[in-house]
């Protein structure tokens, strides 16, 4: 079952179900010992993350649509960034790293469900580290592009490449920070189970968005 449900079972952050007949006046209490009771049901954090991801998805869709339109522009000056050779290899490697990080994250969560706190923390850190590796790999790809004389303004496809990878990288960097915060900060209003769940959602979403962006960039040659 979801971490949120476990957290609820454990009484960490009761939720407002709104469906009990004349029972409780719908106030979700914070867990005992918290200063400032939180009324926000744990479920709301998950909903909030889904909504945030929708907004983020629209942002990336706008970037991709712009790139598609630009690629098909009659001005005919789209020189596809040859995403083959060394550039392709780096990007493929990065993609595998990011996929791997999603796998390690799933493993971390299964350790948490099994009650293995140390195992959870270890695999969670490994996930963050893989995220850092991904970003390092992206920076490496950028350096290679610069070495090949392809800067931000060199041509439209290079502009979009930098823009799209930078936008994704910034979001992923935010995700890495969030992972570290989840691993090291104690639970406050948001129960740890909930924090893990929404951080995972974000992370997997960044992975999925990267897959989408990656295949777009790879297919840039054929319009």
């Amino acid at each position: 079952m979801s971490d949120t449900a476990i957290a609820e079972r454990a009484g960490i952050g009761a939720s407002v179900t709104g469906r009990n007949g004349g029972g409780f006046g719908g106030n979700g209490n914070g867990s005992g010992g918290n200063s400032g009771a939180s009324h926000t049901p744990q479920r709301a954090y998950v909903t909030g993350m889904v909504i945030a991801l929708s907004g983020i998805a629209m942002f990336f869709m706008a970037l991709i649509s712009a790139a598609v339109v630009r690629r098909g522009s009659p001005s005919g000056d789209w020189r596809p960034l040859i995403v083959s050779g060394w550039l392709a290899r780096i990007l493929w490697l990065n993609t595998l790293v990011l996929l791997g990080s999603s796998a390690t994250m799933l493993h971390a969560r299964s350790r948490a469900r099994a009650g293995d706190e140390t195992g959870f923390r270890q695999w969670w850190i490994v996930t963050s580290a893989l995220g850092v590796c991904f970003l390092a790999g992206q920076l490496l790809a950028w350096r290679q592009l610069v070495a090949a004389g392809l800067y931000l303004a060199t041509n439209p496809s290079s502009s979009f490449f930098y823009l799209i990878t930078a936008a994704h990288g910034v979001h992923l960097a935010g995700g890495i920070i969030a992972l570290l915060v989840v691993a090291f900060r104690p639970a406050r209003r948001m129960a740890r189970g909930t924090a893990v769940e929404i951080a995972s959602m974000y992370w997997h979403a960044m992975d999925a968005i990267w897959m989408f962006l990656f295949f777009f960039l790879i297919s840039g040659g054929r319009s």
Partner: protein
């Protein structure tokens, strides 16, 4: 007497300390008021800018205050126009209806103690304030404020100061400001949507939510999906301006005699598509909360349920959805594919249908009612009148064949001002008069309110109706004066009339400010439910305690607009009272 159970723990106390309580508060009520006062400042700035513009249009050679150099130059007029539009659209119409009233009343109306994410809420406000600061800073940077309009089309906005004064640092700061605003809006919409979905009180089913909540919810969803496109466009524009990219800049431009080198074939229409994909939903974001409050107030003051509640909720959703499919109607003559113009036209005309349904339903709500003409009701009646007038001129603009002659004339200016500058502002006024007692625990003066209404109602029509004729005649918008072509001189009498009306109407707003601040200081004490309303905000003290209900969180037993229910004790049945407490006397007849 309420039958809700005893609180499980002692109700929370307000934070101590001036800063935690009033400045860096996470209480949605404080944040709502912060947004409200921000929009009051913004609307004052915006109105002053528009008065300067109107003055210049009629007396272009006059020496003017606030204008460096005395006589206003064309680029200064354009800068005023750009800032007027930007400040009004973003910092008034996107901020007050949703950020101010939505923040304040959404949690209360659904029976929740606060928004789902209070600290995120606080961050949204402070980011909006920072964005406003950035926006105002353009007046003092080198080159001054940008001149490309709130629409900022490249290449005018995409090449820097060679295209015109203000296009240097001013345009950059403008982009930064709106970028921060985008981010703040995205955060705010996460809060609104999550709160509405997850934190409704027991019994508050979706179909028992007040229409204000429906409107804020749909508006927040639109906001969530639209601002991302604007943010993407702004990032690309800033790269074009400072990094030499060519997202929007074509090859071979010669600006001011200088050939622009290093540019490849960017497409200016790409900006238009991205901007209007955001920009059209944005105008619905501006009006939808006003529609919600109008339904709410018309019902309350007619003592009748909303006519066709389901249709009203459904049309809000329909407008929200359709609003994303219409953006091309801003681009009929842009060089866009003419076939797509017909598709956009059909969709634009079809959004007139839910809007018309709403209008009929407002009339239907009043029909057979028992109408009381307190100031909130007057402004809501005014909303309907202005929305009908403004919406109908949209039917002309929605047809590309007619747009051929009306595009970028004052006809368009009339249309959007009637719906946004008047109808949406009337929505804000009626919400203010309606909820002032609840927010501040004092009553506003109703006589002054009525005077404010009448002067604004007449004044606004005097300002904006003549614009239709200016446009029909061929008066072009964004012109800093009307001496450039011979036939435009004939428009001067209309412009004079509008300028006088504008100054008079702006002066009338001083009545509102006087009423507002004096009532704040020394208005009569407001009861818990001065308007005898049914929704949950009237089931708590004026102003509400820190957790909105002092621990006695409500249960909801019925819909939000149960007025004049046959057999009920009173002519209103509050949502939170159990059936036994609203049932009528033994004789069965409701008390009037």
């Amino acid at each position: 007497m309420s039958s809700s159970p005893q609180p499980v723990h002692a109700p929370p106390r307000a934070p101590i300390g001036f800063f935690r309580r009033y400045i860096f508060s996470t209480d949605h009520k404080v944040i709502g008021l912060q947004y409200y006062f921000l929009s009051l400042v913004a609307v004052t700035v915006g109105v002053v800018l528009s008065l300067l513009m109107r003055f210049h249009l009629v007396w272009p050679r006059a020496h003017m205050p606030f204008v460096s150099g005395g006589v206003m130059r064309p680029e200064q007029y354009l800068a005023l126009m750009t800032m007027h539009g930007t400040i009004m659209v973003f910092f008034v119409l996107t901020t007050a209806p949703l950020g101010a009233f939505g923040n304040y009343f959404l949690p209360i109306q659904i029976g929740a103690p606060d928004m789902a994410f209070p600290r995120l809420n606080m961050m949204s406000f402070w980011l909006t304030l920072v964005a406003f600061g950035c926006m105002l800073s353009v007046f003092v940077v080198r080159g001054g404020a940008p001149i490309s309009g709130w629409t900022a089309y490249p290449p005018l906005s995409g090449l820097g100061s060679i295209t015109g004064p203000g296009e240097g640092m001013g345009q950059t700061m403008w982009i930064v400001s709106i970028g921060i605003f985008c981010f703040a809006s995205l955060l705010a919409s996460i809060n609104f949507i999550s709160t509405t979905i997850e934190m409704r009180a027991p019994g508050m089913h979706l179909m028992r939510m007040p229409l204000t909540v429906w409107a804020w919810f749909v508006t927040a969803v639109m906001s969530l999906l639209a601002f991302g496109a604007l943010l993407a466009a702004l990032i690309m524009l800033v790269l074009d301006r400072s990094a030499g990219t060519s997202f929007f800049i074509p090859y071979g431009l010669v600006v001011n005699g200088e050939l622009q080198v290093g540019r490849s074939g960017g497409w200016p229409l790409l900006w238009e598509h991205l901007f209007w994909f955001f920009g059209h939903p944005e105008v619905y974001i501006a009006i939808l909360p006003g529609m919600g409050i109008t339904s709410h107030i018309i019902s309350n003051f007619s003592r009748k349920p909303v006519f066709g509640y389901r249709a009203m909720a459904g049309t809000l959703c329909a407008i929200g959805f359709l609003g994303f499919l219409l953006w091309g109607h801003h681009m009929f003559v842009s060089g866009m594919n003419p076939y797509s113009s017909l598709a956009f036209s059909a969709l634009t005309l079809s959004i007139g249908v839910p809007s018309a349904v709403k209008t009929f339903n407002w009339l239907g709500t009043m029909w057979g009612g028992k109408i009381h003409f307190d100031t909130p009701m007057l402004f809501s009646i005014g909303f309907i009148s202005f929305f009908v007038t403004g919406g109908l001129s949209g039917i002309f603009l929605a047809q590309p064949a007619l747009d051929n002659m009306l595009h970028a004339t004052y006809y368009v200016v009339a249309h959007f001002h009637l719906v946004m500058a008047v109808a949406a502002i009337f929505g804000i006024f009626s919400a203010t008069y309606y909820w002032f007692p609840k927010m501040f625990g004092k009553m506003m003066n109703d006589t002054l309110g009525k005077l404010h209404f009448w002067l604004t109602f007449v004044g606004a029509y005097c300002i904006f109706m003549p614009m239709h004729f200016v446009g029909l005649y061929g008066g072009i918008r964004r012109y800093s004066d009307f001496t450039g072509a011979d036939y435009l001189v004939a428009l001067r009498p209309l412009h004079m009339f509008m300028t006088i009306a504008a100054f008079a109407t702006a002066a009338a707003q001083l009545i509102f400010f006087y009423n507002f601040f004096k009532s704040l200081a020394s208005g009569a004490k407001a009861p818990e439910n001065p308007w005898r309303g049914t929704t949950l905000e009237w089931a708590t003290a004026s102003p509400p305690p820190i957790d909105n209900f002092a621990g006695h969180f409500p249960h909801v037993f019925r819909g939000p607009y149960e007025y004049s229910v046959p057999g009920a004790r009173e002519d209103f049945s509050p949502q939170h009272l159990p059936p036994s407490e609203v049932a009528g006397t033994a004789e069965g007849a409701p008390n009037v």
